[in-house]
Symmetry: none
DNA sequence: CATGAATGAGTATTCATTCAT
DNA sequence: GATGAATGAATACTCATTCAT
């Protein structure tokens, strides 16, 4: 599925790439994508040239950041789904929901990418988003068959709610009890009445 | 309550001002605030100079756009609240919720402003946002006292949900039935179980 | 010597013109020529349109301001020269020198115009500057013939010193004793040793 | 005494920086500070970005230009003062005076900065201006104690005369004999009568 | 490969001047 | 005539991207 075969990076190059990715994740998440690349490079301890060697475009860097996060999320989602109590698919669905929402924290571009997958998302995002979507879809339909989730809800609505709930929490700030209440509202709303 | 007394604008000036405001509303809403002022001016059929005569700053323009929308929302919210069936405050609350969410369409900065009111909002936004918040707060507590809304929910959570639901719908796109299902989920979630 | 015959201005127009001229004099003198025309118009209580009707260009306004001042200076110079004690032409010369320097206060563009007269000065400035120069030249040569001023000094040097002394005083600020010492230095320097 | 330790510039970068500084010196001196940065960049054969990389602000560029000149002037002033015949401090003072006036040619902002030192001058200018002022002050008081300069003159007057004499010469143009006469006048005026 | 200097298109804002009311 | 709204060229500064060292 991947394109050109890439030669393994030299150790220092790999380290630089990783450092940039880490810093960019942090920076994009907390301060948005408006931050100058130069600043990211400096924070990562490399020159801009190095940054652009690894990521030919700022957008490519953002994409890489998102791919990495989405892959992690895909793995965690898979775990949660596999270990789920077969009698309680809704619980696993909720756990995945929380996971994605919380991992998408910050400027929320991750959940958005996830929801947009297949529409106009960059090729590199297709795989992890597809996998997460598939897991969610599986849990959703099992929970619906089990009567734990309202039957009229499709995957698109679930994904949109994922993104929206991220925004809700971002608005709300850090109060953990209040955040919990938001999840309560949303999860209650997802259940059949 | 307003500051300097302004003379009524000349007819053509008023027309230009309105045109700029309309275009800016449209543009900011659909494409975000990153759009160049020159483009807005061109789309409004005026020179940049004219735009800046009416709105001394890009930020001032954005503020004016938001004030206008928020004032309209405040008026509609007031109507809805006043005409509400006293026995059904939750219905009125939901109606206001829908209203705000739907009017906040696009890049969703309206609902965000509403939720941020009193925090770091520009003076001009304080009044309309304050009024809307007051209405929502009133309906919320009445509905809670009547047992129609879960009692553990505060105004901050409600406002955050407003913003988040806007994002949810934005993600979802135009399918009306699906949008309706989102409202169902959220409103069901708001009710005591 | 003047060009097209101008019809006399209507009373209000004349008043407006005068007001603009007064304000512009004040403003240019204290704050330099960088001040926006709009601000001058406002301070004069007229619209920009009116200002530009009377002075087709900002430069024309500056020129008018200077002409007026230079004309006043020419008149005062003439008086001083005419009333001078024939035995003490140097005293009259010094009096004129002080007069010009002090009237040129502020951004010092008047003395500069005076010194530049005949070089690249606008036509309108030629007459008053010419007259002042003639008076100074007369006093200078009389004082030199009388042995009161060093004989090697030409009018150009005197004019340049006029401008420079204006700058010196501007630098010095308001202390009257210190200003007096500057005049002492310059006038002593002008005398034969 | 200086702040952050700067690594030596790369050869090409140093060349560009110097070129910009040279061009800016020339341009600011002959045409004033109103000249567009882009023009300076073009004249220096670099892009605007390069100019702004070296001097983050137009004002910073002006400052750098002035610092460089003032430092050169400080060095030369120091030499003159140190080599001065102890019996003739006035001669050394006059030599310094000439030096500063002649180096401050053009729009004369150097001498002005010198005179303003300690008032509202940028930090970077404080050191060289302070040193020059100190030298002048030392020579002045020695010459006054020796009866070679009129005793009523303070450093402020001397500095103001420095600036003013610069303006005088600027007005006068290039005739060397006439320029010499100006110095004669000023220096004679500085002596006790 | 890494570096960071160079590039220049792009952006908000100002202001002299024109022109419809 | 007077007004002030409209105009748009001009200007300082930013930042993604390229390229010489």
């Amino acid at each position: 599925m991947s394109g050109a075969q890439e030669r393994p990076l030299r150790a220092d190059a790999a380290r630089n790439r990783a450092k940039v990715l880490d810093v960019a994740t942090e920076v994009f998440t907390t301060r948005g994508v408006g931050v100058p690349t130069e600043e990211i490079a400096r924070a990562a301890g490399v020159g801009v040239g190095t940054l652009f060697r690894h990521f030919p475009t700022k957008e490519a860097l953002l994409e890489a950041v998102m791919v990495r996060r989405l892959e992690a999320m895909a793995a965690m989602t898979a775990q949660l789904a596999d270990r789920a109590d077969p009698a309680e698919p809704a619980e696993a669905l909720f756990a995945c929901f929380r996971l994605v929402v919380e991992q998408s924290a910050g400027k929320n571009e991750f959940a958005q990418a996830l929801a947009a997958a297949g529409v106009d998302v960059h090729a590199a995002l297709r795989e992890p988003t597809g996998e997460i979507q598939a897991r969610l879809a599986g849990l959703l339909s099992r929970a619906q068959r089990g009567g734990q989730i309202r039957p009229d809800l499709g995957l698109p609505e679930l994904l949109a709610l994922l993104v929206g709930t991220g925004t809700t929490l971002e608005q709300l700030g850090g109060d953990p009890a209040a955040r919990e209440r938001i999840f309560d509202v949303v999860f209650d709303g997802l259940r059949p009445r």
